[in-house]
């Protein structure tokens, strides 16, 4: 108020911010980025699954009997979710799962940081730098990206487009045939059936 901006200008600025924040292309960029990150991360984990299992174990959160299975599942989930996100197929579900994994990782990191365990995060390779608060913030930023993607992503969803096209096609082809266009024998049959 002090600098003399009218409510209209404020509103305009707010709308600009809002529009920028909710921009679909930004959401698309986030989606592709997140997808790429997860694909990239998963490839190493899948290739060196033992190291990834060790990384999980290093967090000392997961019970020992579940570490290997979790490693196997998480690595492939990252790959599948990353691919789905990039391809725009079931991207909502994929981004939810990615967010879930990010939240999981963030929580694990937080616990490790609180415990003061110095260890590599195991995010991209077994030789990652030890976890720091920066790593935690990065994860939170990715989580925010995931939320943005969840709410504002609407571009390049081939699966959705296909379903919409089929539905539209079905609407277009299904039209009532006027009685006059039915050939006489058919009409007789209709009468007989009546």
């Amino acid at each position: 108020m002090g600098n003399g901006r009218t409510p209209g200008e404020i509103m305009e600025s707010w709308n600009l911010v809002k529009n920028t924040f909710t921009n679909r292309y930004i959401a698309l960029a986030f989606r592709l980025f997140l997808g790429g990150v997860f694909i990239y991360a998963s490839i190493y984990k899948i290739a060196y699954i033992t190291e990834f299992a060790e990384s999980i174990a290093s967090y000392q959160i997961v019970p020992y009997w579940a570490v290997n299975i979790m490693a196997i599942i998480l690595a492939w989930m990252e790959l599948i979710c990353g691919l789905l996100l990039v391809a725009g197929i079931r991207s909502k579900s994929a981004v939810v799962m990615i967010a879930f994994m990010l939240a999981l990782f963030t929580a694990a990191m937080s616990i490790s940081l609180i415990r003061g365990i110095s260890m590599g995060c195991g995010c991209f390779s077994g030789t990652d730098a030890p976890i720091t608060w920066k790593t935690l913030v990065r994860n939170i930023a990715w989580l925010a990206m995931a939320a943005h993607v969840y709410y504002f992503d609407s571009l390049f969803h081939p699966e959705k487009n296909i379903f919409t096209s089929i539905s539209a096609m079905s609407h277009a082809t299904h039209h009532h045939v006027p009685e006059a266009d039915i050939p006489p024998p058919m009409r007789q049959v209709e009468d007989i059936k009546k």
Binding site: I46, A47, I49, T50, A53, E54, I56, A57, S58, Y59, Q60, I61, V62, P63, Y64, W65, V67, N68, I69, A71, I72, I73, A75, W76, M77, L79, I80, C81, L84, I89, R90, K92, S93, A94, V95, V96, M97, I117, S118, M119, Y150, H157, E159, K160, F163, T164, I166, S167, S170, H174, P185, M186, V189, I192, K193
Partner: protein, 582 residues
Amino acid sequence: MVDGVDKTDLPLLEPRKSLENLEKKAFYLQTLLDTSRELADLVQPRQILDRFLLMVMGALGIVQGIGAVINTDTGQGLVAGRGIPDPALNEISNNIPEISKKYFSERGKPLGTTPRVKVITGDAITGQGLCSAHMQVLILSDLLPGGFSCLLALGERITGEPLSEQDNSVLLNLANILANSLSHAISLMNIQQMNADLLKKNAELEATIEDFGQTRQNLEKRYFHIESLMDLNAELRSLIDEDELLRLFLLASMGPIGIEKGFILVYDREDRVAKSAYRGIENGKALHPQVCEMLLYSAFDKTEPKSLTNMSFGRFDAPGIFKEAGIDIEPECAFFFVIDLSCMGIAAFGPPVSGNSLSSNERSLMAGQMAGFMAYLEKARAFSMIKKLNEDLTSRNEQLTQTVQDLTRAMNRITALEKSRTHLKMVVQKEAERVSRASWLDCALIFFFALGLGLLFNLAPQGISFLPESVTKSAFPSASVVEARKLVEEGAAVLVDARPKELYDRSHIKGAINIPLSLFDTMYPVTLGELDLKRPVIVYGRTVSRLYDVEFANRLKKRAHEDVRVLPGGVREWETEGHQVK
């Protein structure tokens, strides 16, 4: 006859006169006798009249006389005269009806067969006006047979004397004789007439009998023809097969008349189908449609009157056309018939076996048979058509039923497809809606897909076991802290920290050597490689996520170390027991 002469007068007359009288009587008697004799042989009334007039007039000396025999029923009669000129006689002849009316009609006709004779003389006949001549005697006789009456008029005597009583008496007797003679003559004449009539009737009767015989013969023939026509009709009535109809028609129409050769052709111009039948003709064959059309055209050309009306037929005479068509028949009687404009035909019959020509009756019989045959042929064709239509109808009905079934099936399919489409559409819409939001199902799918792929990929050599070895392998003997400390301090056992280096660096039991499990294969040779296999090795180090000690012990066991023990409490318990950690 002599009763009229009065015998009592004879003694009163003078002898001469008596003699004269006697002579006169004798004369009269002789006259009566002669007259009777003369008239007895005569049979013709005219002759009787002529002779009687002659006899009477001669005997009585009369100069004029007229006689007439009249049929009072018809007013006709005959007239004879003596001493009367012909014009007068002709006049009397012409006036017979009036004379009959005048003298006989008023008297009636009493019953009886005996002739009635009446003699009128003198003034009684004055004014009668029979003729121009003056008559003094009028003799009337009626009741003759056959309705005849006789009239006799006599004139005056040559002497001019009037007739005496005796004369009148004689005259009466003579009139009776005349009446009887006429009666006989008329009866005879009637008998003769009746005889002649009888003869005539007899002749007529014979002629009639002869005609009757002829008529009967004709009737019998007709009856036979009609019977054969009825038989033909009865046989043809039940036939519906055209070929059989043609064959039977020839058989039934030729038999009664005795015809040797017969041929019939029925040609359908629309379908160009010819049906023919032969009888008594050798090498009868099916005719080509072109030949049939030529035959029909020739026949129609010769038929009089020409007609193409439905169900009509006409006779034709066209010698030679059948020979040209290759049919060995020279017809005595041939018909061209039209069932309708699309169906025509020819029927030809050769001469009878007897060699005679066909009579008009036989021809009319054949025409009748022809008409009957045409009716049955039309019926057979109609039946064929109905049958064909029925078959067509049945076929079409089947087709229609099939079509209805097909259409019903198609409609059911369409309905099913519509339902599927609706269902698919709903699924698609649902999916379209679902892809635009997160769903538990997708998440579960991703999870299980990841699990499946991971497990599958993990089957590769670089894969890891699903469960750690510490879970799957058997447990190792554990060492207590006290035992472990003692062994370590005595130097009897080697204490190994199997945790990663970071954890080891953070805190470890004093005297323990760090061989991280992940570096076992690398570090073992340089650390424990030289160690006596019987020397106890105590391994410690585990977290919630890893049982390093157990896994390490497993590997040592694989390297043939005989005494491997695990310190489950690890650093924490060691420290709790108050021992030194580093």
